[in-house]
Symmetry: C2
Subunit: 552 residues, 2 copies
């Protein structure tokens, strides 16, 4: 049945991902691959994280009066300027974030971390900070990979991070309407555990599931690995409660649809903490999953596979479409096969080659539900995929993906320590523009990642289908240069410019944060950015909320 989605893990270690006790070490196959194919010197840990006490923190500290006032709102145990608290909240989880902290740099850390226990406390903290001009960075799971939780002071002397982890309760379930309301700080596994007790699931399972929070999903328009089936967070979220320096907003949740003016819920979905702090979220829920069916098909190329997925998304009966649909390009397929180390891989390669698939693109599907229909749904989609040129592999690769679905971020920690640079980025495009966008972005990453023909890998996959297009996700691997931050900036700029030039979106599900802010104007225009600033001027006139994020 795949990974246990209700199993909670500790809040993430400060220098990397999740709970290091759960990481599996690099397999012999991966080490061989790194050595033989990429010629990386990856056999030993070269650069482990520094010790916590060696991390350099900034000098920033709240003045005593502000600290006292904040303590009065949340209570003494819930404001901290302790080293670990400040380091944990010094940034998010992209590769530069991790390299910085592993290397002992937390100079940007907040003056203090405040842990409110209720929406009313959040409201009071924001009013106080607005009055005293203290910058506030809202913090859910802290898993941003676009700089969304970096404590940037901008023009402010003082900055606190507002950690919402105490807002972690299920508030109500409406089993008739199939909705549930949670406090926003609840994390993925706790959401699923709470709903499982009522025989429901949210079904929102991003790779960050084990750490990320529901409020973070809302604030970033997160998409989960099964969003093709359940819908992405903006489709799942029906209501929001938001605190701002100027008061509270309660949006949506009263009806399944409304024509009562613009949808303000859609203004706070993706607002990334710059317009307010989301404290409650109402979501659509589905019957708990009791059955899964799996399948993998190979295609002659990424383009052929993408065309098959388009037919699936547009022509299959809506109820038959798999909850999880993924298609790796030939390079990702090749690396996944090489890494799997399974003895059956050689057999599979021969089997596919005999069918003309020498550089196959592998597609994985998972059907899940609460009834006996997953097998018949798979049967009907099998016919469609076969007609579209798909060659049946087995259920195995999809089952293996499901078991290991939350493991990839641990792999990165292992690689970073061995001098291997690995990062991801993503976009989405219309079907008519998908192959061109895939080629343009892959090409831009390749051209920027390494000098000359140094060994590197640029992998791409589709993981979310829509009637009019799909997501594109890229993973790139290279030997870390002496300045990996410059290497990252170079690749990120090249890829972002290629995405804009291709007419695709700067982010399908990672959001804008700091890193995509320069590209927002290309997407919504200077006037669109000004319209958002007009909203911010009403709700946060002092500009204390998450400075420099989203709007730049």
């Amino acid at each position: 049945m795949g990974a246990n989605i209700s199993e909670s893990i500790p809040h993430s270690v400060w220098w990397g991902w999740g709970d290091p006790a759960r990481a599996t070490p690099l397999s012999p196959e991966i080490l061989t691959l790194l050595r033989e194919r990429f010629h990386y010197n990856a056999d030993a840990i070269l650069s482990p994280p520094v010790a916590l006490e060696d991390v350099v923190l900034g000098e920033g500290a709240l003045d005593a009066e502000s600290e006292e006032l904040l303590r009065g709102i949340v209570g003494a145990p819930y404001i901290s300027a302790a080293r670990l608290d400040r380091v944990v909240h010094a940034g998010g989880k992209n590769t530069p974030d991790l390299l910085r902290r592993r290397g002992g740099d937390a100079r940007d850390a907040p003056d203090a971390v405040v842990y409110p226990g209720s929406a009313a406390e959040v409201l009071a903290v924001l009013a106080l900070c607005s009055e005293r001009r203290i910058a506030v960075v809202p913090f859910g799971g802290g898993t941003s990979v676009v700089g969304g939780v970096e404590p940037l002071r901008d023009r402010f002397t003082h900055l606190i991070t507002l950690d919402l982890s105490r807002l972690n309760r299920l508030l109500s379930v409406d089993p008739v309407s199939r909705t549930a309301t949670f406090e926003a700080g609840i994390r993925g596994p706790a959401i699923e555990a709470a709903l499982a007790a009522h025989n429901f699931t949210l079904g929102h399972l991003p790779q960050s599931h084990q750490e990320a929070s529901l409020g973070g999903y809302a604030a970033t328009r997160s998409a989960g690995q099964a969003s093709t089936g359940y819908g992405s967070s903006d489709e799942l979220i029906t209501g929001l409660r938001v605190q701002t320096p100027r008061g509270e907003l309660r949006l949506g949740g009263r009806a399944p649809a409304s024509a009562a003016g613009p949808d303000l819920r859609e203004l706070f979905l993706g607002s990334e903490g710059v317009l307010g702090v989301i404290t409650e979220v109402t979501v659509r829920i589905s019957p708990r999953v009791t059955a899964k069916s799996y399948g993998a098909w190979a295609f002659s190329s990424f383009e052929a596979g993408a065309e098959a997925l388009r037919r699936l998304a547009q022509d299959a009966p809506a109820g038959d479409i798999p909850e999880v649909c993924r298609l790796s390009d030939a390079e990702e397929t090749e690396l996944n096969l090489a890494m799997s180390g399974s003895s059956s891989v050689r057999t599979l390669r021969r089997y596919l080659a005999a069918r003309g698939l020498t550089h196959p693109a592998l597609a994985l599907f998972v059907w899940e539900g609460s009834d006996g229909r997953t097998r018949s749904r798979r049967r009907r989609i099998s016919r469609l995929l076969r007609r579209a040129g798909g060659v049946w592999v087995t259920a195995g690769p999809a089952q293996a993906w499901d078991r290991g679905r939350f493991g990839a971020p641990y792999l990165r920690d292992e690689l970073l320590g061995r001098g291997v640079f690995v990062e991801t980025l993503e976009t989405a495009a219309l079907w008519s523009n998908l192959a061109a966008t895939h080629a343009a972005v892959s090409g831009a990453i390749r051209a920027a990642l390494v000098e000359g023909d140094a060994p590197c890998a640029i992998q791409g996959h589709i993981s979310h289908l829509y009637p009019e297009g799909a997501s594109l996700y890229f993973t790139f691997i290279a030997a870390a240069e002496s300045d990996p931050f410059a290497q990252y900036a170079r690749v990120k700029a090249a890829a972002s410019e290629a995405i804009v030039a291709a007419g695709a979106t700067i982010s399908h599900h990672h959001a804008v944060g700091l890193e995509h802010a320069p590209y927002l104007e290309a997407e919504i225009g200077a006037l669109g950015v000004r319209a958002l600033a007009g909203v911010k001027a009403v709700l946060d006139p002092e500009g204390i909320l998450n400075p420099r994020k989203l709007l730049g």
Copy 2:
């Protein structure tokens, strides 16, 4: 196959609905019903519309310089202060609108009507009017029933109506991504005719289809009669081009989903002309309909039928759900049966009574598509409905509904002339709150509509299903009082207050306009209204766009 959805009719007559040549006179059955059951004196036309030359117009006129400058932008033929143009644009199509114009009152008429021929002309008109402080009312099909196109001057001396009917072209079709881009003034039948040439349909068919425009759908979050299948306008629309006094916005359309900040498209969907003028709309399109299946089932009560629809919306395979799902309450069912005049009605009543359904609630369904699946989809849903207590009737009532689906507004014109007051209003609620909302709103209308136990009818139906709830639509009929405007205001206030008190939405698909503006704050809060005003301050700092609508 139902009504011809590509057949264009002339722009609507000024005193009523559509093309009077297409209206069918009241049937003998309806006249009998009005006479015998309601004791209305409805046999003769008592109050026909006044002659056009007798309509009283306001004195407002543009100053010569403004008129000359506008003429310079759009060209001499495309600005008019002619009587008919001014009267046609003096308001929308709700009952007070029609009563006012039929009675010869167009004192609110705009100074002039401007017909721009391009987005650039719209932009230039808005810049000019902002500079010269001339109010601008955007006008698509003019079918608002909430006062959305009333030419209210507020603090402005001059007002023009901006009629977008010349912006009526299909600009592009992307058959691979299944999207199409239109100019916003194109009306329903022309949309379908243009798409039919490419073997596609939009599938958005509100009752106003024959008159309403695509830009109007977007500006009001319109839902169509088949929105359960195709999605409402906010789900169908993927991109917008909007002109404002401060410049142009191009939103969405580049990707099937995006996490690049708040979704500004959702800010202009439902913006009702107060934030900008929508000049282009990109929509999802579907394969042209080549097959339909119909069915009607009876339930023992509205509550039993609603419960069956909930199971359908939540538990049926998504691809099996009918494109059109409607459930009339017992009173609407009774009146529809009485009005149908079919000889088989008596047989049907006996058949249902024999099964214990003495006050049946009738549900109609239409499955439509481009393949052979409509019959098998119906078969599977039949089983679900039967298990939920539904008694199969025939396909007939659904077929009859489909043939006459655009006819109801003509019926109102006939009734108004005979002293019969008829109007509609609507909301949406969660399933857990649906029956209570239906009862509360029906009761409020009944209590406010007539004195004592004077004969009247309050009918309700569900016409749009969602996983977490459904729409509720009410039609009410009474003898017109001597002051029908006061009668309308009384009913409208009572119903709106009941909707707010029930925790439902003030509008599922009629929008806010003038009439629901007092209730918007109950829905999004005072701070939400201020946030929208913050956007307006950026885009329309002089406040010329559609004064007093939406934000009050």
